[in-house]
């Protein structure tokens, strides 16, 4: 009797935790691949939004898997835009990221109305079937280990980490920094797009205005708490996901305002910054020194 009661609470909580953790892990890994090559990526939020919208849009006519693929591609494109603005135009990384986020938020909101010509509620921006959540949870459980392997055990990963520390050193070692940054940003965008695809195509099967609602930033907080490592970020994402799930479960049951539990990731980040003193990649957000 008693154990049944507990499992009746615990099992849904675990499942809900995994569901809430998934977008944070995917986007968080995206953040790592960008920041590890030296590009600050607050554009994750925008990458997810665009990914989600494109996923639904393509998914409606070509099927949800094609939609997910399109979402990944759209993320890569968004990543390229961020790359172009920060590396070619030498724009401040934060400003470029904010621009992408605003573009994504207002662009998807506008297109939703334009393409689906409708007022309330937004019924048609949805797909008939969804991708099983299990697929994404499997990715969430495996990708952090894969990313860890790539970053720490392969030549490619060593180079990616090196360019985030010092582009000049990388150049002196006979490599081309911009190529490595391009690779990092493309991977970052693809993961961001995939996170968006999960939210739209798997969790709800629908796109609605501002549906990412800050998860991109929470993912970035997980990156910082996880000291820019895939496994650390995944763990932080899991903790954030747990509190998010708890918040959802407790709604209406216990008398804690949900806003307090929503604050958990940010409070946690501040505490982590105090306790762990995470050091970002040395060249993060810095412009490369050029000749002269």
């Amino acid at each position: 009797m008693e154990s049944e009661g507990i499992s009746a609470i615990v099992v849904p909580l675990i499942l809900l935790t995994l569901r809430q953790t998934t977008p944070l892990v995917l986007a968080g890994l995206g953040g790592i691949f960008s920041e590890r090559v030296g590009v600050v990526n607050i554009a994750l939020e925008g990458m997810m939004l665009i990914g989600g919208f494109v996923g639904i849009w393509v998914g409606q006519s070509a099927g949800v898997l094609a939609g997910a693929l399109a979402a990944i591609l759209s993320g890569a494109l968004t990543g390229s835009l961020h790359l172009f603005m920060t590396q070619r135009l030498k724009m401040d990384h934060i400003i470029s990221g904010v621009a992408i986020n605003l573009l994504a938020l207002n662009g998807t909101t506008y297109l939703l109305r334009k393409l689906y010509v409708m007022a309330e509620p937004i019924r048609d921006a949805s797909v008939p079937t969804t991708i099983p959540v299990g697929y994404f949870i499997a990715l969430t459980l495996s990708l952090p280990f894969l990313a860890h392997f790539v970053l720490y055990k392969t030549a490619f990963g060593l180079r990616l980490r090196a360019v985030g520390e010092s582009a000049e050193s990388v150049r002196m070692a006979g490599l081309t920094p911009i190529r490595l940054r391009t690779a990092g940003l493309l991977i970052s965008g693809m993961l961001g797009g995939l996170a968006g695809a999960y939210l739209a195509l798997s969790q709800v099967g629908r796109f609605s205005d501002d549906m990412v609602s800050g998860r991109g930033f929470i993912a970035l907080a997980a990156v910082v708490c996880g000291r820019w490592t895939p496994l650390g970020a995944a763990l932080a994402a899991l903790i954030f996901g747990f509190f998010d799930a708890l918040q959802l479960q407790l709604q209406g049951v216990v008398n804690i305002p949900s806003q307090f539990l929503l604050m958990v990731p940010y409070v946690f980040t501040i505490l982590a910054a105090l306790v762990l003193r995470p050091t970002p990649p040395a060249a993060l957000g810095r412009e490369e020194e050029t000749e002269g």
């Binding site: 490619f156 010092s166 150049r171 000749e291 002269g292």
Partner: protein, 563 residues
């Protein structure tokens, strides 16, 4: 050791002008013979680093050719340089502190199968190489935990791991302790015996004499001499490095002295110094805010005066006293040690020394920019240790930094705003909580007039001025603060004859008003033209203090080189 007769590196007519207009290399040619150790020497700004970075493909020359083993090559990137057998150890390490030593060494040339690193294999290869050379390296330690000397070894191993046959080292001993430097040269010697050609930059003549086969001297972006080391001597190299300076308002060469000097025509004896009048009138800072201006410096030509008496500032307490000073550089090794000096009111003391002998740290310790590790600095008997820069400025110290673009001025600010820097709380200059813009504008305009700065007015943006006029702004700021002590770092560097003379006049004028000046310069003519006494720094220590009247260029040069 006879150099083998194959020129392995030939650089011909290399010219490089940077976007900011600085001509770093002007028609430089350089030949290095296979299996030799070749030094490139010269003062700061002589173009040594630029030349080496061109060889390594980091910069592209505007003109000129490079040949390796007799074949014309174009080296467009470090990657290409590496593939041609070049390796470079930069002045500032390019190792990444957060990575392991091993990862740093293999970066870009990884030992991998299907992209997966084989760290064990790479480590074995590096260890074999290291053993041959008698080098020990903690391959798995994080690089930031290593000493500078160990990092340098790692850099060398990195180049050798890539198969470098020609090794370029940019001032390898600049940050090493003497014993570490000796160990480095032993390593270089064993590399040489295994056939590696070594090209290194230095300005330490002792290293050149002891450890090289040949040497090329650069000055002002030009190659001014190439010598076989055993056929030359330090004094000749020093003369080539410093050059026969004809610019500047120094007095004409006394023929007698020139004839008696061992390297006549290189060293010039100058006239005895002028006598600074005693500071009998009230000191500048004691007067009202409007009357204390230094006024227009005399326009007359500087006429050499006679007699070599020190200023008769007979105060029992010297204005500046430095006692047993120890200052560390950023690597926490001593940059200045056991340094002591006294400067009287109204005295100009010139600090001579080869570049990098601790001058900058000494100046910064007095001004308050570098912490004093041990010892004391006193101004008028008051201990300065631990006081803020602001407090020291208020006490009457002013500073003319070495690099006017980076430290001296904010180029986007107007002349008037630049004059206010460091005195932004001083109402007399228009500072305070709310800027007194009117007073600030008046200050700017007056300074422009008095210091004959070629500008429309005090509201001209500093970045649009010529170098000489920018320096006048820096000097005006130092002088407008009613200083008792001016710390001047290379105050005429890069200035033309007219501007240089202007600076000298300003200093002499200040001295007559009782201001003391600690003059740091790499230009011996300048030191001799202005100083009442000359202190020589060698390796962070005081090598000697000579009254100007008794000092000769030979003796000062000897102290600079040998301590």
């Amino acid at each position: 050791m006879t150099p083998s007769p194959i020129p392995i590196i030939q650089m011909a007519n290399i010219t490089k002008t940077f976007p900011n207009g600085v001509v770093a290399n002007d028609d430089i040619s350089l030949t290095v013979w296979e299996g030799t150790v070749h030094a490139v020497i010269g003062e700061n700004g002589a173009g040594k680093s630029t030349l080496m970075h061109i060889l390594y493909g980091r910069y592209q020359p505007d003109r000129g050719r490079i040949r390796l083993r007799g074949e014309d090559v174009r080296i467009e990137s470090p990657a290409q340089a590496i593939s041609l057998g070049l390796g470079m150890v930069s002045q500032h390490t390019t190792l990444i502190p957060a990575l392991s030593v091993l990862d740093n060494i293999i970066l870009g040339n990884e030992y991998a199968a299907f992209g997966i690193l084989n760290r064990a294999g790479a480590a074995r290869r590096i260890e074999t190489l290291a053993k041959q050379l008698g080098v020990e390296l903690p391959l798995h330690a994080r690089t930031e935990t290593l000493s500078v000397a160990a990092m340098q070894k790692a850099e060398i191993m990195k180049a050798l791991y890539r198969g470098a046959k020609m090794l370029i080292l940019d001032e390898p001993t600049a940050t090493l302790a003497p014993q570490e430097a000796d160990a480095l040269f032993r390593l270089l010697a064993s590399l040489k015996s295994s056939g590696t050609t070594i090209l290194f930059i230095t300005h330490k003549l002792r290293e050149v004499m002891q450890h090289t086969d040949a040497v090329t001297v650069l000055r002002g972006g030009r190659a001014v001499g190439e010598r076989i080391t055993r056929e030359t001597y330090p004094e000749e190299l020093l003369a080539l490095m410093l050059g026969q300076r004809t610019a500047g308002p120094s007095v004409p060469l006394s023929e007698e002295a020139a004839a008696s000097a061992p390297y006549a025509g290189i060293y010039r004896e100058t006239e005895p110094p002028e006598t600074p009048p005693s500071p009998v009138h009230p000191l500048p800072w004691e007067r009202g805010p409007q009357s204390e201006m230094l006024g227009r410096p005399p326009q007359s030509e500087f006429a050499p005066e006679t007699s070599a008496a020190l200023p008769s500032a007979s105060a029992a307490v010297p204005l500046l006293e430095i006692r047993e000073l120890l200052v560390l550089n950023r690597r926490r090794s001593p940059a200045v040690q056991d340094f002591h000096l006294q400067v009287s009111a109204g005295e100009i003391v010139g600090i001579a020394g080869v570049d990098g002998s601790g001058q900058k740290q000494l100046a910064e310790a007095v001004v308050g920019l570098s912490p004093i590790e041990r010892g004391q600095v006193l101004l008028d008997g008051a201990v300065l240790n631990g006081l803020s820069v602001e407090r020291r400025l208020q006490m009457g110290i002013s500073y003319i930094p070495e690099d006017r673009h980076r430290e001296g001025l904010i180029l986007d600010f107007t002349i008037a705003e630049n004059l206010l820097l460091g005195r932004q709380r001083d109402r007399r200059f228009g500072g305070g909580w709310i800027l007194d813009l009117k007073r600030l504008a008046q200050l700017g305009d007056r300074v422009v007039q008095e210091y004959r700065i070629r500008a429309g007015g005090g509201d001209t943006v500093a970045g649009t001025l010529s170098g000489g006029n920018q320096q006048k702004v820096v000097i005006a700021r130092a002088m407008e603060g009613h200083p008792r002590l001016v710390i001047a770092m290379q105050p005429t560097r890069g200035l033309d004859v007219g501007a240089t003379e202007y600076v000298y006049d300003t200093f002499r004028d200040a001295r007559t008003k009782g201001v003391s000046i600690l003059l740091f310069s790499l230009d011996l003519d300048e030191i001799f033209a202005l100083s009442d006494r000359i202190a020589v720094m060698y390796n962070g220590r005081l090598a000697g203090v000579l009254p100007r009247a008794q000092a000769t260029m030979e003796e000062v040069g000897r102290l600079m080189v040998n301590g």
